[in-house]
Subunit: 394 residues, 2 copies
């Protein structure tokens, strides 16, 4: 049993491993235990909805990575990773959600077997699905190892995308456009929200052309009216109403790569304060796209946006974007750079961000956003191509 | 701004809080910090896709719970929780995915302000989204507190469902039936898998009758042929093929309550070993349903299934089910009881399980499962009503 269809070339996986090993070397880490499902997939191709139990990939300086997980998921690893079958190892089913055993005890025993019991081992202490108890079980079972925090070490290697990755994100962008087109078309006063979401998810998974749709790492968020003062509400069965704005925060996803796109639709006649905010948000987006050039800082983009909003009297709090690419639930961000004033990361060609200067006010919300690619020179490219404005239906 | 439509009565939330406080008292915990989004929603009604950043609910013995989360999500809390607005408190946006600050430092400062700096505080060390680094930041910032592991404390209170909860699960079960009916109808040789999944998700969200569909905590898993030897693969764009079985593991979801249902469809003529396994799995399900009576043990159900499978020469590894109810990604299980031989939990009326004796063999998989309710007496009730067999299309 081997992998059935790896998303990327072996060359691409080699590139990723090389970058990660260099970062491990710089951090003085002899073995890196990667639990973030996005990092696992980026390094090995592993793909499955098994991240609700402990699992991980062990990266070593001079041997192929080892996939470690639940017995039941070993076949899934054999079907999806590029490594040979002897690099897939599992823990027994009786460890799963047990009140008396912890899977990390199995991992610790295996690490000791592999003569890593006294090694300097990096773990992703603040990445998803690495629990406080798992960490305690691992450190408690490996008293002679030096277990150090390597949060984000792999995530930082993912920032600059390869051509293969950018091609995936362009496919995701076509799907995002299709989802937004459908939402703009179908939202009408009186139509129940869940029916529109049902069609949006259908559009997302049907995809476009040769791009079948994968599940997005975040479900559609599309609050209306006063609910839109809260960015992260999903949906219910109530109908859309006249006199309310709805923003939709969605992403097309192709083989786990995302291209988020948000637009806002007002049913009726928008109030003046929303129209002023719309104009300021668009001006901020344009200023930010112009600032998103190689050599500039992440903070420069944030400053460009906030200055434009400030001229309209809007005090924008919080960051205005984050890196995107390969992701699993619960987040489609990469959790490294933030487009916020204090962030001094230098922008490089091939970096991709969800540029997202959302406004959530006391009784409405406005989201007009773009997925962007830092080019070799000049302003950023937007991966999607849809009018950058608030839409209005009378 | 108050909650727009609480899913449950105030009486129901009082019941939940009372049970949780009694368990805290028994565990000697003065304050319980709950981060599992399922537990947060069960206790307070909070509902939003914000669990990708640190957040939680603080349960206290003699005051209403406190919702704590990101500044941007405060409005979402005000829109969804039953507590008064002064019980919603937030941390500033600059803590979000920062490389220099951790949100748990904000929580620690607030706990100290609330005179809990020397208290005995329970945390969910092995529940979702409570990271090792968050735990280290909290314990490091509260040197005089006694921080103890309260993993699953709330989850265990959720096991026996109220009538209000069972009514929600019955609605979810109607949605599950609709999804399975659609899959059985639409899967044909040559049809691309993602197109069928797109329609299944549309069915899931459109719901049935007065039940709008919520997103399931796990996306559809429906591997075919040899891929079905791996239980947790999702989908891709390849067509269904004759001579292969596909199992589908799905759940309808109504207001976060799930009723998983799995069936298997063979395109063509099933081989004898699958037919034998099907007969044994059905016999195991029937024996297990009969054993799933109040007063029996969780392990009794597992033994009934394994005995039936053993008679057919099948050595079933792993548990055969887990409790279900309210859930958020990445899991629709409650992570307390396991239907495995060593589990001595006594079954009680009102408990609900996904009874799931799946078989994943070397080159195929077979899933025929039921969501079940432990009755006041007699065998368990199945929440869904669909033929309990492998389906075959010539």
């Amino acid at each position: 049993m081997g992998p059935s269809q790896l998303p990327f070339s072996r060359h691409e996986y080699s590139r990723r491993l090389r970058k990660t090993r260099a970062a491990m070397d710089e951090a003085g880490i002899e073995a890196l235990f990667v639990t973030d499902p996005s990092n696992m997939a980026w390094l090995t191709g592993y793909d499955g909805w098994s991240f609700y139990v402990p699992q991980g990939v062990l990266v070593l300086p001079d041997q192929d990575p080892v996939w470690w997980g639940r017995a039941m998921d070993g076949n899934g690893a054999l079907r999806t990773v590029w490594m040979e079958s002897d690099r897939v190892t599992v823990y027994a089913e009786e460890y799963v959600q047990s009140t008396v055993r912890h899977p990390m005890q199995d991992l610790a025993a295996k690490l000791a077997d592999w003569e890593l019991g006294s090694a300097r081992i990096g773990v992703e202490m603040d990445n998803y699905y690495y629990s406080a108890k798992g960490h305690a079980a691992l450190t408690g079972s490996l008293p002679n190892a030096t277990i150090t925090d390597a949060t984000g070490l792999v995530n930082w290697q993912r920032g600059v995308k390869s051509d293969e990755e950018i091609a995936f994100m362009r496919k995701a962008a076509r799907i995002s456009e299709k989802i937004v087109d459908g939402l703009l078309d179908r939202i009408e006063p009186g139509v129940p929200k869940h029916e529109v979401v049902a069609d949006a998810l259908r559009d997302a998974i049907r995809g476009t052309g040769d791009a079948w749709g994968d599940y997005p790492a975040i479900m559609p968020m599309l609050p209306s009216g006063i609910d839109a003062s809260a960015p992260h509400l999903t949906w219910d069965g109530r109908p859309f109403a006249s006199g309310e704005a709805t923003f939709f925060e969605i992403a097309g996803c192709y083989r786990r790569y995302h291209a988020p796109l948000c637009r806002t639709l007002f049913l009726g006649t928008p109030p003046d304060d929303m129209l002023r905010a719309e104009a300021a948000q668009i001006e901020g987006l344009e200023a930010g796209l112009d600032a998103a050039r190689p050599g500039n800082l992440a903070g420069d983009v944030a400053r460009a946006v906030k200055d434009a909003l400030a001229r309209a009297g809007i005090d924008k709090r919080g960051r205005v974007g984050y890196p995107i690419g390969l992701s699993y639930p619960p987040d489609w961000g990469e959790r490294t750079v933030s487009l916020r004033e204090e962030d001094e990361t230098v922008l490089e060609p091939g970096m991709t961000f969800h540029f997202m200067p959302g406004l959530w006010m006391d009784d409405w919300g406005l989201e007009i956003t773009e997925s962007i690619l830092i080019r070799d020179s000049g302003p950023a490219e937007t991966l999607c191509n849809r009018p950058r404005r608030m839409f209005v239906k009378p």
